[in-house]
Point group: C2
Chain length 476, copies 2
């Protein structure tokens, strides 16, 4: 038996020497080598782990070098306060939700927000009004909600205290969010932006702006696109009257990693010193290669032109969609066989996260892999899920669902019952029924049809689904 299975697997993976087009943004150390101090950091990582000793300050009560580093971060992103987060954007999202809202507050939330937002809604006991995403029929991509969907949700809500938006989404897709934030703030709503995938935004003019100056709370996963270690994130705050320091401290280990914190310091300085030059050059190369790859007419790297009006896409990310009837999962596997590690697959494509540190060679490698790809090996059944026009009715708030007892029943007997978990058909990966909503006839029919085709539905296991035992208001 393997005595250190995880350590062994990690070391084995390293020996494969894949081209890392997934997270982390440090690209297995490569991106730290931008300058001498980064190189020394990367080479000595194993010897630098330390606890809070005298000259190294204290993340929970910063008065020295951590305070100085956080002030530089604040100045760079132009927010009023700035914090290093060692518990990822998850820690940032929990903190933002607890700081911005009080128990019982109503908030507008995207139906397919990140799991950490759902968890924060439950723990903070908030009332939710969902915002619908936009689905593109062709290509099985989904987009962030458009302005209509956001204002529809606003008009349905009773007395919303705020809104939580994901910007950009996992595909790197953006929209004109500034105008919306400004308007909603004017209406007195607190605005939280989960900008996990946009740490590099704003570093040059070819990239979308970041929302750190505008939103009340902006959460950024530095580790996703910048030279920072996994788990390292930033929290930028403009809401001056909140208890943000307390909540951040609550959700953060009292033994935060100096490796992660130092990498967060490095990443901010990277953006300031080299960001504009490096990202302009990266986008130039990425644009060039995108055209070459697209002109092979096998797969399609999404551009602004492929998206409806008002949407844009992060040009440092290759969101590659396949023609109908081909599998993104198989494509990710194929790339891995070609020693290219993609970030993620979705039913109809994959996402690759590019880096300045890998140069034109990396993009050539992707080009070559697509060029010699035999599309036959990616063939897959074609699925389509018919979303109902009428949304399910919400019977319980997420926190009531958390507290409710559950029962595992046949999906076909679930009519009128309250879902205990989100029910999510893949594709496209958007909840058809959210936890707390009543399972209706239309949803059952659509999901049944989808399952009969062989589609995958998260939340349904072998034809069974978890529902709440008690009805509305009876939650334990």
């Amino acid at each position: 038996m393997n005595k250190v299975p995880l350590l062994k697997a990690l070391l084995d993976y390293h020996t494969e020497e894949n081209l890392i087009l997934s997270m982390p943004g440090n690209k297995c150390g490569l991106a730290f080598k931008r300058d001498e101090i980064g190189k020394i950091f990367e080479e000595n990582l194993g010897r630098l782990d330390i606890t809070e000793v005298d000259p190294l300050d204290n993340l929970h009560h910063p008065e020295g070098v951590i305070k100085e580093a956080q002030n530089l971060l604040r100045d760079y992103y132009k927010s009023k306060k700035a914090f290093f987060v060692v518990n990822g954007s998850t820690g940032g999202n929990l903190t933002a939700v607890f700081s911005a809202f009080k128990e019982g507050d109503e908030v507008l939330v995207e139906r397919n927000c990140h799991r950490s937002i759902y968890n924060a809604l439950m723990l903070r006991k908030l009332k939710v009004t969902y915002i619908e995403p936009v689905i593109i029929e062709e290509g099985s991509l989904f987009l962030p909600p458009d302005k209509n969907n956001i204002y529809n949700a606003l008009s349905k809500a009773n007395s919303p205290k705020g809104i939580i938006l994901t910007y950009p989404n996992y595909f790197g897709i953006t929209y004109n969010i500034e105008e919306i934030i400004t308007d909603l703030k004017g209406k007195g709503l607190k605005v939280i932006i989960d900008e996990a995938h946009g740490a590099h935004f704003g570093v040059c003019e070819d990239l979308p702006r970041n929302m750190c100056e505008l939103a009340d709370y902006t959460v950024i996963s530095a580790h996703k696109t910048l030279p920072a270690l996994t788990g390292g994130a930033y929290l930028l705050v403009n809401d001056e009257n909140s208890n943000v320091e307390f909540y951040l401290s609550t959700f953060t280990t009292t033994s935060p990693s100096y490796l992660v914190m130092a990498s967060l310091d490095y990443a901010r300085n990277y953006l300031q010193e080299y960001g504009k030059e490096d990202y302009e050059s990266l986008i130039h190369n990425a644009d060039l290669k995108r055209e070459e790859i697209n002109s092979l007419n096998k797969v399609r790297i999404v551009t602004k032109e492929d998206l409806p009006d008002g949407y844009d896409i992060d040009r440092t990310r290759y969101t590659i969609v396949l023609p109908k009837g081909y599998s993104g999962y198989k494509f990710l596997d194929y790339l891995r066989g070609e020693k290219i590690q993609g970030e993620m697959a979705f039913p109809s494509g994959v996402v690759l996260i590019l880096s300045y540190s890998q140069g034109l060679d990396a993009l050539d490698k992707v080009h070559q892999a697509v060029d010699k790809l035999d599309m036959e090996i990616l063939k897959e059944k074609e699925w389509k899920f018919n979303y109902s026009n009428s949304l399910p009715i919400k019977a319980l708030e997420p926190y009531e669902v958390l507290e409710a007892e559950s029962e595992n029943i046949g999906f076909n007997n679930s009519l009128g019952r309250i879902a205990k978990e989100n029910i999510v058909p893949y594709p496209p990966g958007i909840p058809s029924i959210c936890l707390g909503e009543i399972i209706n006839e239309e949803s059952i029919a659509a999901i049944d049809e989808f399952l009969e085709q062989g589609g995958t539905v998260l939340g349904i296991n072998e034809g069974r689904v978890l529902v709440c035992v008690r009805g509305k208001g009876e939650s334990n």
Copy 2:
């Protein structure tokens, strides 16, 4: 201006080449060098950071190598479930409290428990009954609560659902906790043990046993004493009917560090493969040198013989107390001047955390430093805080305090007001008034006297204190 103040400070600290007798247990990488795979890990740390890619499993839904590694952990500590925690014992404590208890439950808690426990009590909205620590007048040490204090608290509580105990305390002091846990579990109480400083317990017979097999939840900071990276902890669970996976996932980043997780895998295997041999040898050496150092008659490394009946101390930790009138803080500084990094200072001494990886040389260095120490440079005023026999009255639960508005008033005008923060005289570092308690005449007199002598009191700044604006039951 320094462009990367934190990274620079970290690299500078490294060049000092101190003997690390503080956390982390990996001793700046040294402790990973116990075998070949550990050496490879340490040397390649900068190149191993990666996200969840195919063969490396998913901490939030483990089915592969992480599951395998966690099963080995479970078998080693003999609990029913075992989890890697990347957000430190803080993450483990939050998870344990949320899993074990429901809102409104009453729990017994040590008055000087770790901050993460206080935070968990607030967020989970629990009612608390405090357990008193035991203070040793001589040496200004404090001990874990004895059996009397625990059962006193139990008799005062209305309908307690559980108890949270710290074992060992920061000084490494232990007591016969097994009997107490067994009895309280028999009475139907859930038992959470914050065993942050006892990851190595049970590895050989010269060490206290660990509570992982016995308690409902045991939280262990692997990074404190074992070869693991800062922030890496274990959560061992025997409570099978709880929602522990959900809460752990909630408090954990969805981008957990593979460096930390792999180090947790390494640390468990270290204990299994080399632990007994290494710790027996470490204790042999530590005992030998302790006697030599103590026989210098300058400082006193605490032994079992120095403690009241029923208490013991972790022999891999040097808890060094100074004679009255000498400062532990100055001693920590002195050691640092001698290139020895201690773990922490308290008013009358310091704590050093020893490691198998540093050998007899390390202990010799401590011996030499004490030998040549001029005690004069540690001289300090003598302080003593007079604890009242009657505890302050609790007016608000911690979660009510969190929600209450606060007011900053002169401490001398605070009679009858409810403290918003713990008020903690140093020495000995035990709250004189806990948040939510009513500030009484006796406390004011004792603290005034202490402050007049020049003592430090956390929670009082320039003679002012934060109190709650509203009275009991009026909390917002």
